[in-house]
C-alpha cells in the first residue's frame, strides 16, 4: 500500500471518535439523499402511470380551423376590429393512413392506435345523457388504455352493434350489461347498441361520458366514412412525450399534444417536487461537506507536530496534502457504502409503510443502481472537496514551527 494511503488509513483508524461521528454523519446524509430521491421518483412514477393509464402519451389530431379574415383592397391601416372564431367542424385527418405509418416509425414511439371520436347522446327509456363516442380498433386501443383491466362488469368486446360504457353512465342510464341503449350523434345519425361491458377508469368525467364502440360503428354514426379523427400513441419514455409531439407536429402539420401539455398541473407539480428534492439534496451535501471539513481541520491542528516530523523526514508538502485528501475521500466513500445500505433498508421499510389509496405500495422496495452510483460519486467528490482546505493547510505548515514547540 502506498505511503499516503497507509498514513490516511491509520490517522482515520486512530481518530476513533472523530472518525465514527463524521462517518455516521456522512452515512445519514447519503441515506437521506438516496431515500428522498427514490421516494420522489416513486411518487412521480406512480402518479404519472395512474394518470397515463387512461390517456395516450401523445394524441395527434386535425388542427383547429382558424378564421381567415377577408381584407379590404388597398391596405391602409385598420383591417378588422373583431374576428369571429370559427365553429369547429368534425373532420377526419387527411390521408390518416399515411400519417399513421409515419408516426409509428418515429423513435420512442411504441404503440399507435387510430381513433374516431365525436359527441352525441345516449338514450334509455326517459333518460338521456351527453356522451363521447369513442370508435376504436380494440386490439390496438387496448395497448394504449387497458380497458380490459378496468372492467367492473361484462367483458371488453366491441363487435358490430356492441358498446362498452363507463360505470357512471351506466348508473345514470340505469343500464347494465346486456341492456340496449340508443345513441344519437352530433351529426344527427342514430343506432342502437347492446352493452357488453362496464368500466371504471378512476376518472369520473370519463366514466360518465365514454361510450367505446367499434371504429366502423363510430364512423357511420359520425358520418366520417373511413375517417379517423385522432391518432393515439404511447412512447417508451414518458418524459420524452413532449419532444415526440413537437416532432410529429412539424412533420405532419397536424396538432400533436403530449400528456404533459394536457396535464400541465401535474407537470408543474412534478417540477416543483423535483426542485424541492434538489434543494434538500444540495443542502444535505453542504452539511456533509462542512462536517467532513471541520473534522479534518481539527485533525490537521492536532497533528501539527507529526506533520512537522514527517516533513523533516523528507515528506513533500504535496504528499502531506494527499494524506488529508485521501482521508476526505475515504470518509465520503465509506459514507456512501454505509448510506446505501441504510437507504436500502429505509426504502424497503417505506414500501410497506406507504400505501396508495388502493392499498398497493406507493414505491417499490428496491432502488435503481443508478441512485447508488450517483450518490456514491457525489459523496466521494464531496469528501475530496471538503478536504481541500484542510489538506492545503497541512501542506503549508512550517516544519520548524511544528517541531520547535514539542
Amino acid at each position: 500500500m502506498p505511503f499516503e494511503w497507509i498514513l490516511a488509513l491509520r490517522f482515520l483508524r486512530e481518530g476513533r471518535m472523530q472518525t465514527a461521528l463524521i462517518m455516521a454523519g456522512t452515512t445519514v446524509g447519503v441515506a437521506v439523499i438516496i431515500f428522498i430521491s427514490a421516494l420522489m421518483n416513486g411518487l412521480q412514477a406512480s402518479l404519472a402511470s395512474r394518470t397515463l393509464s387512461t390517456q395516450a402519451h401523445v394524441t395527434v389530431r386535425v388542427p383547429d380551423d382558424a378564421p381567415t379574415p377577408v381584407l379590404a383592397r388597398g391596405d391602409t391601416g385598420i383591417i378588422a376590429a373583431h374576428i369571429e372564431p370559427r365553429v369547429q367542424r368534425l373532420r377526419s385527418i387527411d390521408q390518416w393512413e399515411q400519417v399513421y405509418r409515419q408516426v409509428a416509425l418515429l423513435p420512442h414511439v411504441v404503440d399507435v392506435s387510430p381513433l374516431t371520436t365525436g359527441s352525441g347522446f345516449a338514450f334509455r327509456g326517459n333518460a338521456s345523457k351527453a356522451i363521447a363516442i369513442m370508435g376504436i380498433l380494440p386490439e390496438r386501443y387496448e395497448r394504449i388504455v387497458r380497458i380490459g383491466d378496468k372492467l367492473t362488469a361484462g367483458q371488453f368486446r366491441v363487435g358490430p352493434g356492441e358498446a362498452v360504457i363507463g360505470c357512471e353512465l351506466a348508473n345514470d342510464l340505469g343500464a347494465t350489461v346486456g341492456d340496449r341503449i340508443r345513441i344519437l350523434s352530433s351529426e344527427n345519425r342514430d343506432d342502437v347498441f347492446r352493452i357488453t361491458g362496464v368500466f371504471d377508469l378512476g376518472v369520473k368525467d370519463l366514466n360518465r361520458r365514454w361510450v367505446i364502440m367499434a371504429q366502423r360503428n363510430a364512423q357511420s354514426l359520425l358520418d366520417l366514412s373511413g375517417g379517423v379523427t385522432h391518432i393515439d400513441l404511447t412512447v417508451d419514455d414518458i418524459f420524452a412525450a413532449e419532444s415526440v409531439a413537437t416532432r410529429i407536429a412539424s412533420l405532419t402539420g397536424l396538432t400533436a399534444e403530449s400528456w404533459m401539455a394536457v396535464n400541465t398541473q401535474l407537470l408543474t407539480a412534478f417540477k416543483n417536487q423535483t426542485m424541492t428534492t434538489r434543494t434538500v439534496r444540495v443542502f444535505l451535501i453542504l452539511i456533509v461537506a462542512l462536517g467532513i471539513a471541520s473534522v479534518l481541520v481539527v485533525s490537521v491542528v492536532q497533528k501539527q507536530r507529526e506533520i512537522g516530523i514527517l516533513r523533516a523526514m523528507g515528506t513533500s508538502p504535496r504528499r502531506i496534502m494527499w494524506v488529508f485528501l485521501i482521508q476526505g475521500g475515504l470518509v465520503g466513500a465509506s459514507g456512501a457504502l454505509l448510506g446505501s445500505g441504510l437507504a436500502a433498508l429505509m426504502v424497503y421499510g417505506a414500501s410497506f409503510a406507504l400505501r396508495q389509496s388502493d392499498g398497493s405500495p406507493l414505491i417499490s422496495g428496491s432502488i435503481e443502481p443508478a441512485y447508488y452510483l450517483s450518490a456514491a460519486a457525489v459523496a466521494i467528490l464531496t469528501g475530496l472537496l471538503a478536504a481541500v482546505a484542510p489538506a492545503r493547510r497541512a501542506a503549508k505548515m512550517d516544519p520548524v514551527e511544528a517541531i520547535r514547540y514539542g
Binding site: 500500500m1 502506498p2 523526514m313 517541531i403 514539542g406
Partner: protein
C-alpha cells in the same frame, strides 16, 4: 583536509529574521564550519546562542539569509523545495529532544517511516532493517508497542533507531538526552557512539550537558551567533 571528505560545510552563513523590517534581527553572524564524514561532534552554547537555528539550517528546514551550505558536496542554494525535501530524506537523520514519534504507529512502523517515505511502499527489506535497528537499541521485545506504551528513554531509543533507518551519512540530534535522567542519558549517548562507530554516520549533537559534550570527538561552541572554538579532532 579535502573538501570531498566533508559531509557538511558552512561558509559565511548568516541568518536573520524579519529581514527588511524595523525589527530585523540577525541570529547567526557568519558561520564557517565543516564536519568530516564519520565525525562525532557536539554543538554547545548557552540558550539563545543560535544553536537551534544553526541546526535547522543544516537540517534543511530553513534557508540561510546569506552564505553557502554544502551537504554531502551538494550546494543547497541550487536546490528547489523538492530537491531540499529529497536531500533531507536521504542524507539526514533527525533525533529531537521530544522524540516526535508518530503516536498512531508502532515502534517498528515508526522506524520504517523514513524508508517508507523514500520508497513509497513497505517492503520486506525495510521491515528487516527496522527490526534489526530496534534490536540494536534493545527494544526487540517492543516492536509492536505504540509510543504511548513506552517510557521516555525507550521512546528516545526508537527515535534513534528511526534516525538511522536510511543509513544517513549525517545524523542531527537536538538535545537527545534533554529530558532524560542521567543514567538513561548515558545509555542513549553510548548508543549514539556505537552507531557512529558501526554505521559510520557523522553525528552533530546539540547539548547543554558538559559531561556529554566531553565525550564527543570535537566540541563546536557557539556564542551570540558566532563560533568561538571548533578544534577539529585532527587539529
Amino acid at each position: 583536509m579535502a573538501e570531498e571528505d566533508d559531509i557538511l560545510r558552512l561558509e559565511a552563513v548568516r541568518k536573520a529574521y524579519n529581514v527588511a523590517t524595523p525589527i530585523e534581527t540577525e541570529v547567526l553572524h557568519g558561520i564557517d564550519m565543516a564536519l568530516h564524514r564519520g565525525e562525532f561532534a557536539a554543538l554547545i552554547g548557552p540558550s539563545g546562542s543560535g544553536k537551534s537555528t544553526l541546526l535547522h539550517l543544516i537540517g534543511l528546514l530553513e534557508r540561510p539569509t546569506a552564505g553557502r551550505i554544502l551537504i554531502a558536496g551538494r550546494e543547497i542554494d541550487a536546490l528547489d523545495e523538492a530537491g531540499m525535501t529529497e536531500l533531507r530524506g536521504r542524507t539526514l537523520g533527525f533525533v529531537f529532544q521530544f522524540h516526535h514519534l508518530l503516536p498512531e504507529f508502532t515502534a517498528l512502523e515508526n522506524v520504517m517511516m523514513p524508508t517508507l517515505i523514500d520508497q513509497g511502499r513497505a517492503t520486506r527489506a525495510m521491515r528487516e532493517r527496522a527490526r534489526w535497528l530496534l534490536g540494536k537499541v534493545g527494544l526487540a521485545d517492543a516492536l509492536d508497542k505504540k509510543p504511548s506504551a513506552l517510557s521516555g528513554g525507550m521512546q528516545q531509543r526508537v527515535a534513534i533507531a528511526r534516525s538511522l533507518a536510511m543509513n544517513p551519512p549525517l545524523v542531527l540530534a537536538d538535545e537527545p538526552t534533554g529530558n532524560l535522567d542521567s543514567h538513561t542519558a548515558d545509555d542513549i549517548f553510548a548508543l549514539l557512539r556505537e552507531f557512529n562507530r558501526e554505521e559510520g554516520s557523522a553525528f552533530l549533537i546539540v547539548t547543554h550537558d558538559a559531561r556529554l559534550a566531553a565525550g564527543c570527538d570535537r566540541r563546536i561552541e557557539l556564542m551570540d551567533g558566532r563560533i568561538l572554538a571548533s578544534p577539529s579532532a585532527q587539529a
